[in-house]
Amino acid sequence: MDYDNFNKFIKGPVIDLREATFCDPWFISMVCLLAIERKNDPKKELLLPVSEDVKNYLKRIHFDIFMKEIGYEKFVRELGNINMVERENTNVYEITHSLASDDFNARLTKIRTMFKNFGMNSQDDINRATVLVSELGNNVFDHNLGLWPTDVRGAIIVGQNYPKLKKIEMVVADSGVGFKKSLQLRNPNLNDVEAIKLGLQGITGRVGENRGNGLKLIQDWTINKFNGIVKIQSGSGLVIVDKDGVRSRTVNKILGTLASFVVIYN
């Protein structure tokens, strides 16, 4: 994902994907958050990619179902006409939108099975990867409780297996308050990058409560058990952590948070 080029897809209320030639879970999740942000704008538009391959991928990953749910039905009608045998591509975890914590919890059994079906052999790794998704999802609900800025609440989950590379990318996105606002009670002067970095160190906005281990553990396991990468964008901050250390930068602002991990298996 080229962060600097993402601008070309955004023209005010219009999300213009016509030039998109590649899609991955991060890109899809980013578009979902951008669409939520614009959903009540009367001038909103969503222009689908010209590339048939990308359109097929969007259909496979149930992009049209999610977009209908948030009021973009007329813009994704074309995807409804694509006939597809989904079992021919079992390397995706389609966009799921868990509105509540219980709903998310109920999906974990399926997510665990998904890791196995993707080709993870080690039962321990399957269970660890399930914990990674669980903690990212738990954060969505725990840190936005009572604070959701829009009427689209919950966790959006998307995943992709790259079987030749033995690599899985999972993204958990939410249109919530983000790291900065979540940590404002503790420190009102943080910028987005600083807030994400503090969150990754186990500092939590839930002052006085015994919390914060989740993100530390996500980093530890992703890097040390899977030789993987943790990537978080919240507001205008982007932080990437892998075995080479922590890299951060300021990027185009989004509503809410994108949190992802990439794991290498077997």
Binding site: N105, R112, N127, N138, D142, G214, L217
Partner: protein, 89 residues
């Protein structure tokens, strides 16, 4: 612990499980120690474990709490992580 599920996740579930565990302890005729048997638990998350164990330890400060059958990777590693965190605080 398996009675609470083989995937133990979320703080809310940890809190509910704690409340049920208190009922079980209160209903015991002989109360010498608390044994948490993790056999059959395949996935334990930090959120559940943190909530459940801290509440239990706060409630039964003077009692022995033994953890058994913690061989599953996530159970073992999460419990170790919470133990290390408690030592740091």
């Amino acid at each position: 612990m398996q009675k609470f599920g083989n995937i133990l996740n979320s703080r809310q579930s940890g809190r509910e499980a704690f409340l049920r565990a208190v009922q079980i302890v209160n209903g015991s005729s002989v109360f010498e120690e608390i044994i948490l048997d993790f056999s059959g638990v395949e996935v334990l998350t930090p959120s559940f474990a943190d909530e459940f164990l801290h509440l239990l330890k706060d409630k039964y400060q003077n009692r022995i709490i033994n953890l058994e059958n913690t061989e599953s990777a996530t159970v073992k590693e999460i419990l170790q992580s919470i133990k290390n965190e408690s030592k740091r605080q």
